[in-house]
Structures are given as structure tokens and as C-alpha cells.
Amino acid sequence: MDQLNAVRAAIEYSTEPRIAFFEDPAVDRVLGITMAVAQEVGTVLERLDTLERLLVQSGSLQAGALQAYVPDPAVAKERLTMQEAFVTRLLRVVEQELVALRAEQAERSAAVAAETTASTPPRRADAA
């Protein structure tokens, strides 16, 4: 089966219902498309990496050489780190929400602590 038909066959083989998590299902749809684009960008990154490595090795590029390249375990590990950095950049907006929440939480606990200290009755100097 050729590339295009395999992509189509994989889609037809999948029978799972679309699930909408957001109030507007269009958001889920856009997210799905965005992630598919992201995956292809990730794939292109790897292609470039392969190309660069091969060029460095041989000084020239031969037909079929790109797809024949098999990364050794060390390279595969490096590549995973690269993908993780890419995904972290991609999900910046999601992580930023958490960072803000964390800061808000810290501020709130600091405020509560300050209030507790302030509301402690001052010890009377002449109590004794």
C-alpha cells in the first residue's frame, strides 16, 4: 500500500468517536489540527537532523540515504530530548497558566500568613 493510501486506511480503520472537552467543539477540532501540524514539524526536525548528520559524515547526499538512516541509541536519546524541548515550547501557554496559578497561590498563602501575624493580639508590655 502506498503512503497516501496508508494514511487514508489508518483514518478509516480508526473508529473512535470524536470527544469534545471544550464548550465549543470547534476548539477541540482546532487543537487536533494544531497537534497534527506540530507532529509534522517534529518529523521535519528529525529529517533535517538526519540530513545534517549525513552531510557531515559523507560530504554528499545520495538518493534514499535519508530514509535509510537508523539512529543509534545515543542519537535516539538526543532526539527525544529535542522533541521534549519542542513540545514544552509548544505547550508554553498551558504551562504559563500553571506558573501563574502557582504564583497566585504563593501570594495568597503569604497574605494569609501576614493576616494571621497581624491579628495576633499584641502582648502587653505591662502584663506582668
Binding site: M1, D2, Q3, N5, A6, V7, A9, A10, I11, Y13, S14, T15, E16, I19, F21, F22, V27, D28, L31, G32, M35, A36, A38, Q39, G42, T43, L45, E46, R47, T50, L66, Q67, A68, Y69, V70, P73, A76, R79, L80, Q83, E84, F86, V87, T88, L91, V94, E95, E97, L98, L101, R102, E104, Q105
Partner: protein, 381 residues
């Protein structure tokens, strides 16, 4: 991908296929390792105060309320939508090379199945119908479902399960060479030195990833493995043959097998019970009691998600898998207390215990419940 074992049943993949898989892996690791822990923060900062204010109570909020609260939170929605998306992408990414290579893989399975040098066996009784739950639910969102089979040569369910399972496990932080079977075998050898089972049974074997290690580590034993899907078992059998392991695969229901009483010295299950209803689990425990020979050992390894030790938030958060990863029994399994259930199935109280099984290569540990049939007991109690 960094799959643990190479064999002739794996799809031939291009560099682009492997890059797409690495992307899915990186995405899953990000979501599991960095975004998902934020759900606790979301709950503490927003969902819990909102629930307590609505319920006009400062009391701990119950699991079902928390589920509804999370569902309405925009940050949770984003995590859940991306997690669902990553699972769908995982399947799409591994289905594609399988589709391209399908004819070769099916032919290879047939060659191995019909080879005169075949080591083990495959028994697919005519008319066997997988349990309704396995037909109605597509566990892990596997395309077409775990027990699906389209023809007498179909092996897709097994091929998808192996490739998907490896990618999923690694997305959870497990190493490519992690093995549930080896984790249990290591425990058995350390705790039952000299144990030499004559016959071993692997319940709910899927693609046989755990069955094969038993054949390798107990070469004198006859290893049998059962599951409910024909395409799954056809793949498992061809895979084992390709790896040179002698395993006899059968299509059977784990709660009602056709083996004689006392037939096995060792009965194991790996990640079976979180895919089984309370009823099936208890019937399987009774079946294990019947099938074990006196002096026999039962080891049930599974995911360590027991709710008894979890907060209501953790329980509610983990329920994602029930609703969005089509794991219908994930929560009832987590709620279950299997020790009394095994006792009710016949095992004497002092032979049943829960243990933590160290992983071969991964964070945390597996849960396992162990039961033994005393040497003096008859198979029917």
C-alpha cells in the same frame, strides 16, 4: 522506536514513521510528567473552593462532585483534550506503517503458524465469542477494538497492541526494556528458590509480551497463554515463534477455561484485572483456585492505582481513563480489595498477600496480589 525486542512480525518503518512516534512519545511525556501534576494545583486553587462554596460546606468534597468540577475547568479541559489527542495520534501513527506492511506481516504470521518447525501452538475454537465488554469497549482507544478480527489471517489487533503498548508505556516513563513478566519472574525466583513449575498459565496474555519470558526463564515448563481475541492470539503466537519461544496460545475466557482441575503449578496474570469487571475478576479467582495444583502459586501483577490509599481528588483525577481512554473497569478495579476475594475463592487466609513488584526499568512499582494453594489441599475445596 526503542522497542524491546526485534522480531519478524514488526512493521517495517521509515525514518519518518519513527520520528512521528518520537513526537508522540515526547508529547505524552510532557503531558504526563509536566502538565498532569498541575491538575492537583487546579483542584486546590479553583475547583475545590468553587465546589465548597456551591455546596456551602468546608467538608471534603466527594469523588463524583470533584469529577464534575474538573470537567468544567478550562485548564483541566486542555490537559484532557491533549491527552485524548495524544492517544489518538499514537494509534494513527502506528497504524500507518502497519497498513503499508500488512500483507507481508499476515503472510509471515501464516508461515510461522504453519511451519513444521513450530515450537508452540495456537488453538482458536470455532464459535468462540469474546465477552460483551471486550466487544463493546475499545480499551485504550485501540482502533477497531482489542478483540476485533476481520478474517482468518488477521493479526492487526496484536500488531497494534504491541506497538501501541510499547509507545504508551514509554510515554508513562517506562524504559523500552521494561517487562512485567520479568518483574514477576524476578520476584518468584527470589521468593520461591528452586521452584520448578511443570505447567504455567498466563491469563489475559494479549500479544504474549509476558508469556514469552516464562518460556525463556522456565525452559522445562510447558507455558500456556489465553486471551479472548483471535487476531490478538494469532499475532502473539507468530511473535513467540519468531522469538524462538515455546508457548501454547488458546482462545478462552479466563473466568471459565477448559483446562482440567489442578493442571498448573504457576498461574500468572499481567495487567489483566484492570480490564475485567468485578464479576469476571471473582469468577477468575475461583477458576485459578480450581486450576492450581497443590503447592501451586498464583501471581497477579497489575497497575498500582488502588484507591484505598488515594485522596478523593486523586481518585477523581485518575478516572480520566474510564471515560476518555475507554477503560470501563479502571475505577472498579482501583476500588477493589482483592485479598478477601481470593480468600473467598478458596485460598487459605495465610497464603494471600499484596506486594509491590519492582519494575525492571521504570518509575514506581507494580501492584501484585499473590496466592498459594497449600501442598496438602485438593483442587476442589
Amino acid at each position: 522506536m526503542v522497542h524491546e525486542l526485534k522480531h519478524s512480525m514488526l512493521a517495517r518503518q521509515t525514518a519518518d514513521d519513527l520520528a512521528r512516534q518520537r513526537f508522540v512519545l515526547a508529547l505524552k511525556r510532557e503531558l504526563t510528567g509536566r502538565i498532569r501534576p498541575g491538575n492537583q494545583l487546579i483542584f486546590d486553587a479553583r475547583v475545590k473552593p468553587a465546589l465548597q462554596s456551591r455546596l456551602r460546606s468546608k467538608a471534603p468534597v466527594d469523588r463524583e462532585e470533584i469529577k464534575r468540577g474538573l470537567l468544567a475547568d478550562p485548564s483541566w479541559q486542555t490537559w484532557a483534550a491533549l491527552t485524548r489527542c495524544s492517544q489518538e495520534m499514537m494509534w494513527a501513527t502506528i497504524t500507518e506503517p502497519l497498513m503499508r506492511d500488512r500483507e507481508r506481516i499476515e503472510a509471515e504470521a501464516k508461515r510461522l503458524r504453519e511451519s513444521p518447525q513450530k515450537l508452540g501452538g495456537l488453538d482458536l475454537p470455532a464459535g468462540f465469542v469474546p465477552p460483551a465488554a471486550m466487544r463493546e469497549h475499545h480499551i485504550h482507544l485501540q482502533p477497531q477494538g482489542y478483540a476485533y478480527t476481520s478474517s482468518s489471517d488477521d493479526v492487526m489487533a496484536g500488531a497494534l497492541y504491541e506497538a501501541g503498548g510499547n509507545l504508551y508505556s514509554m510515554g508513562q516513563g517506562m524504559g523500552g526494556d521494561d517487562s512485567k513478566g520479568f518483574a514477576a519472574i524476578r520476584w518468584i525466583k527470589a521468593n520461591r528458590p528452586g521452584f520448578a513449575p511443570r505447567r504455567i498459565l498466563d491469563l489475559g496474555c494479549s500479544a504474549g509480551a509476558s508469556s514469552v519470558p516464562y518460556a525463556q526463564e522456565f525452559p522445562d515448563a510447558e507455558v500456556h497463554a489465553i486471551d479472548v481475541g483471535a487476531a490478538m492470539l494469532r499475532y502473539a503466537s507468530a511473535r513467540a515463534e519468531s522469538l524462538g519461544a515455546r508457548v501454547f496460545f488458546h482462545q478462552m475466557d479466563c473466568s471459565a477455561t477448559t483446562f482440567p482441575d489442578g493442571h498448573f503449578d504457576l498461574i500468572v496474570s499481567h495487567n489483566l484485572f484492570h480490564e475485567a469487571s468485578d464479576e469476571t475478576r471473582n469468577a477468575t479467582f475461583r477458576e485459578i483456585w480450581r486450576l492450581l495444583a497443590p503447592g501451586g502459586l498464583n501471581v497477579n501483577q497489575d497497575v498500582a492505582i488502588q484507591n484505598a490509599t488515594r485522596t478523593p481528588f486523586e481518585q477523581a483525577e485518575r478516572a480520566y481513563d474510564v471515560y476518555y481512554n475507554d477503560e470501563p473497569f479502571w475505577e472498579s478495579y482501583a476500588d477493589a480489595d482483592m485479598v478477601p476475594e481470593l480468600k473467598a475463592a478458596g485460598f487459605p487466609a495465610d497464603t494471600v498477600r499484596e506486594i509491590q513488584l519492582g519494575k525492571i526499568n521504570g518509575p514506581g512499582h507494580w501492584y501484585a496480589v499473590i496466592a498459594e494453594k497449600p501442598a496438602a489441599a485438593s483442587s476442589r475445596n
